[in-house]
């Protein structure tokens, strides 16, 4: 877990832009990645990330109490993604898309050959991304936060507004479901 000094929050409360910059440096890469799994358009990703940091900056300056800045940032990002799809005309049902283009881009950029030792890894990444996309939203979300973003159970509970026990149970079921789907795909 990223521990950030309390003084950083206090500086943000005073409107210190440099404090915002420091927090950005710590969390922007992982947040961008988290957004990348959900939003395919690069400009939209950046806009969403920008909105997240500016919203957090305003909230802290208004005096909103924050116990865990990382969980707060992820929660804000999750809400921003939901808002993005809610405002988007392409999907009125507010279903968060799974970004499968990501994997295709990865393949193109990597120029992988079948003989490459990374081929297996790439294939495995493709497989797992695809199977993740087939999971329930809740399962996908929880696996993403736990194993890709490496958040604590308590943080995930805070982000998803559930109890830690419920998160543990859901995480277990999600992993089981993903494993089952992957085995089925491999066997086929």
């Amino acid at each position: 877990m990223h521990r950030i000094p309390d003084s950083l929050i206090e500086r943000m409360q005073q409107g210190d832009r440099e404090a915002l910059g420091e927090i950005y440096d710590i969390f922007a890469p992982s947040l961008y990645r988290y957004i990348s799994f959900r939003i395919s358009h690069v400009q939209d990703r950046e806009d969403t990330l920008s909105n997240v940091f500016l919203r957090v900056f305003e909230s802290i300056a208004k005096g909103v109490k924050i116990s865990n800045i990382r969980a707060f940032l992820y929660q804000s990002t999750r809400n921003a993604i939901i808002d993005y799809y809610r405002e988007s005309t392409r999907n009125a049902a507010v279903v968060i898309e799974w970004n499968e283009e990501l994997l295709q881009n990865e393949q193109r950029n990597g120029s992988l050959s079948h003989s490459s030792p990374l081929f297996d890894a790439t294939m495995q990444n493709e497989l797992i991304v695809r199977e993740l996309g087939r999971l329930k939203d809740e399962y996908r979300e929880i696996l993403l936060l736990r194993y890709i973003e490496d958040l604590e159970i308590a943080e995930i509970a805070e982000i998803m507004q559930k109890s830690s026990v419920a998160i543990r149970v859901t995480l277990h079921r999600a992993l089981k479901a993903l494993k089952k789907q992957m085995e089925r795909t491999i066997n086929i």
Partner: protein, 394 residues
């Protein structure tokens, strides 16, 4: 496939997905610029919740509390002014600019007491105080406007006391209450006597006011007697009955004096042809009152006295053509209804005026007063009235 393998595959994803190199740096600059603009807006629309404690304390708390001493000082000043003003006013003598304020404060103080008995006692004290003040101001100059003001106040207070004292009839039996009623009766008699004596030296213009006050004091006296008799009958207190009987005897004596005055005024002049029946009826009533008193029947005695008073009143009322004559005897007052608002006031116990309005102090006790505009009243008085009031020489 093991769970750990799936987890490891998931963990590996984090290294394969991320932002394009340099894109986050550019985004950082953009975000910080936006943050600057947010800051500038914040400075303009600064909110108290975003200020530090000291700023909040100074701008929000201290500003309001600074006003408190000023408001408190203003309120204290008002309280002091009202307090000092009230203290000064309560000591104001008639003629003082604060006299009316004092009267108002005294009336208010009476209204503040919830008990009827206390209010009545206060009203009695107030009219008695008015009588004393009237004596004082009359000694200096009876024709001064101050006397007018005091008379007006006294008249109002006599009326109020008359209303208040009636409440004693429903009061619970209490020896202290009896002494209060006796005291009220004595004070009413004193007021009546004082007013009549002062009226003798009062100018003609003030006679109306005096007569009004005398009538009020007379009513108060009778009401007090009624209350006294009612209360004594309820109490069955022999001592109280004896005291009341003495009071009624005094009243009988007063009525007798009035009857004698009537006779004395009428007979030598022979101006009216008023039947003597009224006098006889009065005398009979008085006799009945005396008999009832001897038998210890206070209520009957009082009824007889009241009866005699009524007849005395009717015998004393006369009319002059074009004028309504207001006659005030010992016990009653008749309101003027004349259109010219120039009532003639007649008191059979006081001085007498001749038809031209001049005073004749040598005449038997009988008074005609022209209240406000003496000359006008004299001019308006008919030279040959068709009918003269019994016992009054116009």
């Amino acid at each position: 496939m093991q769970n750990s393998e799936v987890v490891q595959s998931l963990r590996n994803l984090r290294y394969h997905f991320g932002a394009q190199p340099g894109s986050l740096v550019l985004l950082r600059e953009k975000i910080l610029q936006e943050a600057d603009s947010i800051n500038s807006v914040r400075r303009i629309h600064i909110s108290p919740t975003r200020q530090d404690v000291s700023v909040f304390w100074k701008s929000q708390v201290l500003v309001h509390f600074r006003i408190v001493p000023q408001v408190a000082a203003a309120l204290a000043l008002v309280v002091v002014i009202v307090g000092v003003g009230s203290a000064v006013a309560l000591r104001a003598k008639p003629g003082s600019p604060f006299y009316k304020m004092r009267v108002a404060l005294e009336d208010t103080s009476v209204a503040l007491y919830p008990q009827h008995a206390t209010r009545a006692a206060l009203e009695i004290e107030l009219f008695d105080k008015g009588v004393r003040e009237l004596k004082e101001v009359s000694e200096d100059d009876i024709s001064s406007p101050t006397v007018f003001a005091v008379l007006d106040t006294l008249d109002e207070r006599l009326l109020k006391a008359n209303e208040r004292i009636r409440t004693y009839t429903q009061a619970q039996l209490d020896p202290r209450l009896f002494s209060t009623i006796i005291s009220a009766t004595n004070k009413a008699i004193n007021a009546h006597t004082t007013l009549k004596s002062l009226q003798e030296s009062a100018p003609i213009a003030m006679q109306s006011k005096f007569n009004k006050a005398i009538a009020a004091s007379s009513r108060l006296k009778l009401t007090a007697l009624q209350v006294l008799v009612t209360y004594t009958d309820r109490s069955n207190d022999a001592n109280a009955q004896e005291v009341v009987a003495e009071k009624l005897l005094e009243e009988i004596a007063a009525v007798k004096t009035s009857v004698t005055s009537l006779k004395g005024v009428r007979e030598p002049e022979g101006v009216t042809e008023e039947p003597e029946d009224n006098v006889k009826i009065i005398e009979n009533a008085i006799s009945g009152a005396e008999v009832a008193l001897r038998e210890g029947k206070l209520s009957i005695a009082l009824d007889r006295i009241l009866e005699s008073a009524e007849i005395l009143e009717s015998a004393s009322i006369g009319r002059v053509e074009g004028e309504s004559i207001e006659i005030v005897g010992n016990l009653q007052s008749v309101t003027s209804t004349n259109e010219s608002s120039t009532p003639l006031v007649v008191d059979n116990d006081n001085e007498r005026l001749d038809s031209s309005g001049n005073s004749d102090t040598s005449a038997p006790a009988s008074t005609v007063s022209l209240p406000t505009k003496t000359e006008e009243n004299i001019e308006q008085t008919p030279k040959e009235p068709p009918e003269y009031p019994v016992g009054f020489d116009l």
